[in-house]
Symmetry: C2
Subunit: 171 residues, 2 copies
């Protein structure tokens, strides 16, 4: 599967705690390698790390990352998710299949990002949710492959018609 990184901008620890957690867990479940968060937030690192240790995989989280340095050094395509961008149907065919960084902003995104991005991409030109937009883009780019992946975790959920089936290894 493609080497995909998420860059989360403008996260404010108290206000965006839950939404950024949703962004990070969506990134993991949909096959990204890791997430970089521009603000330092050790609680966020812990709660995402906790899911990784129980449910498996090698998803990485780093917070307090300089987005400008990261994007300048990134050797791959940069896609910025924005409701102002090109239609997803037109933009996805331009994604190359090599290393990919998806930029997900919170409230206000510096205008520099629109310039540094190779593609400004809109999952619908309507206001909605960066979490849903990220999920849909990753689902399209990975052709749903990530959702069939075995994470090999200590806890494993077995798909079932009704109710809950969980398998677990001893700690």
């Amino acid at each position: 599967m493609q080497d995909i990184w998420i860059l989360r901008l403008g996260h404010r620890q108290s206000r965006d705690k839950r939404v950024t957690t949703h962004v990070a867990l969506t990134a993991r479940a949909l096959g990204a390698k890791g997430i970089l968060v521009s603000t330092r937030d050790s609680e966020l690192e812990e709660s995402v790390g906790d899911v990784v240790s129980r449910f498996g995989g090698d998803f990485e989280i780093r917070t307090g990352v300089s987005w400008r340095a990261f994007l300048s050094d990134f050797d791959g395509q940069i896609v910025h998710l924005t409701m102002y961008g090109l239609r997803i149907d037109d933009a996805v065919p331009r994604i190359s299949g090599g290393r990919l960084c998806i930029v997900v902003g919170a409230e206000k995104v510096p205008s520099e990002i629109y310039q540094m991005a190779d593609i400004n991409l809109a999952v619908g030109n309507q206001p909605h949710s960066e979490v849903a937009a990220l999920g849909i883009l990753l689902d399209r780019v990975t052709h749903g492959e990530a959702l069939r992946k075995d994470f090999g975790g200590r806890l494993r959920i077995i798909p079932t018609e009704r109710g809950k089936r969980i398998e677990s290894d001893p700690e």
Copy 2:
């Protein structure tokens, strides 16, 4: 397009404010007709109504709805989004194309829901985000059609390579 309704369960006004707003706006942008929220929340109604009045469409929001009565009376298929459910690839072909209600829980979902649902469906059997799960399911069910829809609103965003292009009619 298919007649799709979202039922949001277990919303707590202070804690889930932003996440439920994301759920509602995702539902609207991805082609649902409306959202029913089991808890009464007039602020949520206002903020979603505000987006509808500016960006168009006829998306409905109702809060303080009895989920049991709504589901019992619903004349269509009921799909419950849960990480414990059947794989999306196996479950989507079972969705009929008629009226559809998608149930999106917050923290804890009554076990009755697993029984009332025609399909318990998992967008990946991993913990992530109900917002992303809803977005991906709607994108798959509508074959991306909703993302190409013209909402005919007073404010219209014009897809563009870089920057922001907004057209607006006088108020």
